[in-house]
Symmetry: C2
Subunit: 189 residues, 2 copies
DNA sequence: CAATATAACTAATGGCATTAGTTTTGTAAA
DNA sequence: TTTACAAAACTAATGCCATTAGTTATATTG
């Protein structure tokens, strides 16, 4: 192993920092190479080009998000609090890693989806604890993910305006959604 | 007026078709020029460069979406049906104009947000008809938009799998959300 | 200490957006 | 009808980017 000190994971980490600093489109092989003090062609020893880098970054991001969400489950005692903790972790990740988050959403093949499976499982477990399972739970998780991603996207788009109020709207929306879920679940009994 | 037959609107329309055919990133000045049978620099007589084109395309798309949603209100008699018609129009637009839709979501300044204001108004009106207004309605519209955009994004990302089932999940989610909204609204009385 | 694999390098190509400067052409005034 | 002007096309050139091919340097392994 010659020229140690630079492997794929290190490259990915540097690229991730670039993404969060300059935005998802700011990640170019040129600036990444400059950042690593090598010439652009040298990058091809670690990644297979820009599309490959983007794909790997997306997987890297989804996996990081999963680990942070899992970590967040440590806090929170009751069931609803645990779900709330998952929500907070998701929002926190999107805020601290805007570029990485954006890359995870630029639909890029099946490996990114696979990497997101564990996150779905995490949510399913919490919903089960709250009495929502089976077919309803599938719908509910999709709804939950949509609400979370939707709010992140929209609040980013609107940018200024009333920054903090977005959190309030999200809480309101989640409360309404969960309340409706419970009502529907009870109706099925 | 020299060399008539090519104005900004025509350019935008051609670019929109390209976006929906080749994807949002497929819109380059090179292919747009080829499509219009002119050289790339000639485009600068109608637009001020690629970022400007993207911004204008986004506004173009949001406005088109608004007009289609407004049109959709013609159908549907009862209040919930009208809201449902808005939802259908939104989904239909996203499906028929994937590239244009994507461009409307790539947050690009205040003019795009302004163009989206009428859509918010459309939703607010329907919610009012359903007994949801005031501060709650603001939250509700944000929730509604998040759910819609979230589902469009996620179903696009997942791609294969169970295509049609997404619609079912969305309906389920909307039903739960609206039910929760009503419950909360009644609770405030 | 020698051999090898790995990772860096230089050089070159083609595509892209963009700018500067020039030519063409349709319309409107003389 | 002719002339003048302004708008929109053009050519030429620049610089940045990703990518490929071929070469050189170096760290580890035997």
């Amino acid at each position: 192993m010659p020229r140690a000190g630079l492997d794929e994971n290190f490259v990915l980490q540097a690229a991730a920092e670039l993404a969060d600093t300059l935005g998802a489109d700011g990640v170019t092989l040129a600036v990444l190479a400059k950042r690593l003090n090598i010439r652009p062609p040298s990058l091809y020893n670690h990644i297979q080009g820009l599309p490959d880098l983007r794909r790997k970054l997306a997987v890297y991001g989804v996996d990081l998000l999963y680990r942070e969400m899992k970590q967040a489950l440590e806090s929170g005692v009751s069931k609803p609090e645990k779900l709330q903790a998952l929500v907070e972790a998701y929002l926190s990740f999107a805020e601290r890693h805007p570029g990485l988050y954006e890359l995870t959403q630029r639909s890029l093949g099946p490996e990114v989806r696979s990497a997101g499976e564990p996150i779905v499982q995490l949510m399913l477990e919490q919903l089960k604890q709250m009495g929502i399972y089976g077919r309803s739970a599938i719908h509910a998780v999709r709804g939950l993910r949509s609400i979370l991603h939707g709010f992140v996207s929209l609040s980013k788009e609107e940018g200024f305006g009333l920054p903090y109020a977005w959190k309030e709207s999200l809480d309101y929306t989640l409360r309404a959604f969960l309340k409706g879920l419970k009502t529907m679940a009870e109706g099925n009994k």
